[in-house]
Amino acid sequence: MSADGEFKIVFTGPMGAGKTTAIATISDDAPVSTDVLNNDHATFDKESTTAGLDYGRIVVDGEMAVRLYGTPGQNRFKFMWEILSHGAAGIIILIDASQADAIVQLEYFVDVFGRGKSVPIVVGIGRTGQPGSLAIDAFSVRLENHGLALPIFGVDVRQRADVLLLVDTLLCMVEAPADARLRA
């Protein structure tokens, strides 16, 4: 928690996972976006992509203010991951289950944001209903194989209730005693 009593949490995950949409879906105020034209249609075919950060803010249960930061998803913006995760109370990793390398992406982001740190992590898996998408169990099993037990939820980042479930779960982990937390 910051000096002014607000929590900072970070949404991260690969390009196209829905980080910008998730923050826009739950932010009480108009979110700050740094979307620019996407030239890399080979990696993900969409119009725009985040080059700097996303920012939003919500008040949970009428009293707890939470600052929401979103990272760019591409590896070339890794320096922003370090900047944005500094001082974060927790991390939400979003993954697109319809991507062929979705499990590898999850392992990578859990490793980058979790290794050697005690920061709580919650995982949201999107587009699980699309043809060819992996089931949520596949992600859980892979993490368990690495000795990791993280909360994993299916999520539609356009649905406020879905995104709030991720945030609420993360805040519960943040407030739990450190030795009772699930760790990455």
Binding site: L37, D40, A42, A51, N75, R76
Partner: protein
């Protein structure tokens, strides 16, 4: 693994010539990178391959954040940013009319004069913008 997109050989060639002219005519310039808005190196001068990619990504993030701050402040669009450090200056400038959108980052040492650097970078961006207009 991401493969950098192609930005057009002719226009990129023009841009490379413009960077060379910038180097030749402006004291103190030590490196420069032309970058796409989403952080890819288009052309560069005097920067190692890995460093050019990193500088392109960082420059595009700064440009995007600068634009967001300008919009938030109601002053419409960020046109340039100046980082003044102990041993030099970095100017990041939007390239007008370029398609796709681009910015130019120019790094200089203490031998440069800020006014001269801004003037030269602005002229360079104008010429590059013409090359990438179509």
């Amino acid at each position: 693994m991401t493969t950098a997109p192609c930005f057009g050989r002719v226009a990129s060639g023009v841009a490379q010539k413009q960077l060379e002219a910038l180097f030749g005519a402006t004291p103190g310039v030590v490196s420069a990178v032309l970058m796409s808005a989403d952080g890819f190196e288009v052309v560069s001068m005097q920067v190692g391959k890995g460093s050019a990619g990193r500088l392109a990504a960082m420059g595009s993030s700064l440009t995007a954040i600068g634009s967001a701050i300008a919009r938030e402040a109601g002053i419409v669009e960020c046109q340039r940013m100046i980082i003044e450090a102990q041993n030099g200056t970095v100017v990041i400038m939007q390239v007008p009319s370029a398609k796709p959108p681009m910015s130019l980052a120019v790094v200089s040492n203490t031998e440069s004069s800020l006014g001269q650097l801004l003037w030269a970078a602005k002229n360079c961006c104008a010429a590059i913008g013409k090359a990438f207009k179509e």
